[in-house]
Every structure is written in C-alpha cells, then in structure tokens.
Symmetry: C2
Subunit: 304 residues, 2 copies
Amino acid sequence: MKEKDFISIIKQISNSEYIGDDCAFLEDLGIVVTQDSLVEDVHFSMKYISPYQLGYKSVMVNVSDVAASGAEPKYLTIALSMPADVDDDFIKEFYKGAKSACGEDIKIVGGDITGGDKIFISVCAIGAVGKRKISSRKNAKVGYDVIVSGNHGSSAAGLELLLSGQNVESDFIKAHLEPVAQVEFGKKIAQNVPCDYAMMDTSDGLMDALSAIANESNVLLEIDFDKIPYDNKISRFQNWQDLILYGGEDYQLVAVVPKGLVDFGFVIGEVKEGLGVDLKMNGNRFHLSKSDIENKIFNHFVKG
Amino acid sequence: MKEKDFISIIKQISNSEYIGDDCAFLEDLGIVVTQDSLVEDVHFSMKYISPYQLGYKSVMVNVSDVAASGAEPKYLTIALSMPADVDDDFIKEFYKGAKSACGEDIKIVGGDITGGDKIFISVCAIGAVGKRKISSRKNAKVGYDVIVSGNHGSSAAGLELLLSGQNVESDFIKAHLEPVAQVEFGKKIAQNVPCDYAMMDTSDGLMDALSAIANESNVLLEIDFDKIPYDNKISRFQNWQDLILYGGEDYQLVAVVPKGLVDFGFVIGEVKEGLGVDLKMNGNRFHLSKSDIENKIFNHFVKG
C-alpha cells in the first residue's frame, strides 16, 4: 500500500478538511502546522549523513512545508528516538545542525527523546499567518504562470553519488545532505499575490508537485522542460532528465500564480484547461496523467 | 544517559526559554504546543495493546499535556511509522481510536505515514490559550494547596497485570490501555485561578510531577499519602504504595494553586518553605530530594 492510499484512509476516518496540503491552515488560531518524519534506513542512512546534517535536514524538510504554505516559519518541536548506545556527541551535533537550520528567526521549543532500535525523527513546524494569504493546491487557475524557485535534480544526483560510493565533496551531495528551504521565495510569493494561488515544495520531486497541483485544481499544467533550472553538471548522469523531473528532496518551491505579479524565480510553464501535466521535451509533447507520474515516483514502502 | 540529561543538552544548545514545561507557551501566537512519542517495545507492546487502543492512547498522552498547561486542546498532527507488512486494518483501527480520543472538540489536521522496522508514533498537539492563564512548573508558592484530579497507581497496576500474563478485563488494565486525559479539570483550574499557578500531568508518576514542581519552584511540597485518591483494589499488589506514588501513565493532573479558589479535585498537601517533597506515610515523615525520586522512576533507556 502506498502512502497516498494511507492518507486517503486517514482523510476518510478523520473526516478532516485540513488534510490535503502539506500544512494544515488553522484559521481560528492564525497558524499553519505540519509534521514530517525521517526514518533511519528508509529516508537516510548514517553511512552517508552526519549527525549535524541529519539535524539540519530534519528541520529544513519541515521549514520547507511551512514556506510552501506562504506562512512565516516560527516554531519547531523535535521528537528524536534512537538506540541507547548512541553517544552524547550525536545528540549535540544533531541539535547543532537543527539550530543552524533554524537561523535567527525560528525557535526550537520542545519535543522529546526516546529509546528505540533505529533513529527516528519527527519534527512539527508552526508558521504564523499574520496578513499573508495562505496557498492551497486547489488554487491553480487557467492562465496562471507556473514558477519554480531554483534548481531541480541536484539532490537526487547527490543521492546517486552517495549510493555508488562516491563520497567526494560535490555540489550535488551538498544539495542532498544540506538542502536549503526557500523561505524568502515563499514569503515574497505570499506578499506579492493578493488573490488565491497554489504553492508546494518539491520534496517528492518536481513532477509530483506539478501533478498534485494540477489534479487538486482540476487543470492542465503545460511545462517546458528547457525552462526548468538545473545545475548543468547534471548532464553527466545517464538519467539526468529523470533526476530533474522526478528526483526528490530539492526542497524548492513551485508556485502557480496570476501572470505579471512576480518578477523573481523561473517561469517553467502555464495553466491551461484540461487535467494533468503536458511536458514539452526533446522536441516532443508528452501528456502525463496522475497515475503516469505516480508510477515513476519513489515509493517509501518497498512493497507497493 | 537519562532523558533528563538529554533535555539539558538540548536546552543548552537551543538556548530556549520554552523548554521546561511539557507544553511550550507561544505567547505571540496565543497557543501552546507539545509533542510526545510512543515507540514499540519501549512504551508499548503489540502483545498487550490493540491498534485501536494505541491510536486512542497516543492522542490522550498529548491531550493530557495540553490540559496540564491550562490551554484548550484543539488540533493534532500524527506521525506514524510502521513496517510495510502491517495491514490496512491496523491503520483503520489506529485512526478510529485516535478519532475517538479526540471526541468532538479536537481535530486531527495532518501528519505523515512512513515505513520503518517498528511502530513509532509521534503526536503534536496544539492548544488555544484564549483568555486562560497558562500554568508553569515554576509557579508553586508557599501556602498553595496541592490538588490532584483523580486516582493514581491504576495504570501501573494494569501494566503489572499485563506483564504477568493476566490479560483479563480489569479496571487497572483499562486504566493502562485507555487512559482519559483530564481536560475538564485542566479547564476548570485555568478558569478558576486568576493568578500564577503550577500544573502538570502525572504521566511519569505522581512523585515525578511533585518533584518537578517543587524543584522548579524552589519550594517544599508536604504530601499526605492518605489523601491521595486510589482504587482500593490496588492493595492486593505487594508494592501498591509504590504503584500509587511512582507508577506512571495515569494521566491525571496535579495542580498547585492558592487556597480557597478550587472546590473540586482532591487536596493531597500544601506548599511549605524548603525544597523537595515531604511525604507523610505509615505514621512517618520522609524527606525525598530530587535525586531520591529520580532514582525510583522508570527510565526509558535500559542503560542508565
């Protein structure tokens, strides 16, 4: 069973209108909230990531979701579970990394530490709404531009390098182990767009985000591959186009907003009538439905 | 290393004034937030608890912390990690239990599901402050009464029954597997007390909570064992007095408030000058320092 199937069970049982975007928007409290977990040997391996980087990345993953909502990331709680024989330095380095990812503006305010067989991290992040308009995947409209904040594919390329044993200093490996949440991009979108808009991070890949927005908004996104920004060193990977389109964990943002409001980021396409994603690539045009894209995407569960 | 030692490392690194009470009070947002985790074979065993009860208890554990802050429990996110071979029914039952623990007033608004070797649950709970006064462990003052919401020892007695293989229907087992967070007690305390007060849940045992409040407030709590409410069937356990004093997971509340403001709950003692806990029991008076009590308490980590 796939994570998305689980989510639909939960949605059904909890009958919650909040479950859909990565953040829940709690209008009465003026906040958004999100929670994302990292599990050892599922989402990361201690062979490749340092405790500092793990703390750093656990925070960034969640800050990215808050940034994608348009809210201002403010507070975090961190739950950490780990074997009893992990040493003090692990904890110190983990929290130093977490603190560094928080910068000056985000505060760690709680959480817990428990024993366990493997390392498990679950972070809850809270953002302040203030006067900002909050995004929704349902808000893409015909005629809007599709804009991304930056390079795609670098993180997945870095993971390929790590898995093949090439643990050398590289921009790709750094992109994988120390991603940077696009807080400023999210803030500028939320401040520049006075009407409904869609925004998501590309944690599960660019195409996953595009597909989610297209299907939730019931529109077609027409995307030009040549306009997607990437680090051109990626072309030495055989599957470089797939890395850019389907590779996860770049933690960039994709915003779908009315034309003419935004003079930053990279316009990669626009919204048309229809459903799904149309991709112009290598002189061809491919139509990709929700299931076409889902089949391509990494599934957290080994058994589908 | 003990959890409390870890917490002090985190406090030191994150330099956060929020870490101390179970909930962080985020005054600018008018909310409290808490996060607590349950790990398979550390906090529970699937031999003894049903998926429904596990979902139920995961929620109650966190709602209890919000109730202890004095805030109104409103929203939850739930992270669930589990092996790929867990069946659909597990998830359905888990979420039914979680939903049942939420009742009408609390909503599940997000979270995630991931793969993993063992079941790991981490819940984040958010409470609304509104016009309520928020508690702090630092707020006990000389002359205040020490009040508990209900019976102690039942949950630990239930755990003893389960561990010894006596899986029969019993109030004690029910208390362990399906605790009820004291939301109404917390609300009434917060509404009746217009000044600083201390409140905590007794998730790690009554003496743990009393010791935490005494030491954070720099006072002595004088407690009369005979005034602590308990289910009198507990006296058939050889160590029944220890179960009442040190047994965890009753999820009752202990409030330390000015005399004369509260006409509900059970007054078990009062605040004096000094430090720690004085316990009147079996015709004697014992002084218990912070370390005396810590040494008695269950430690999540097998290796101390």
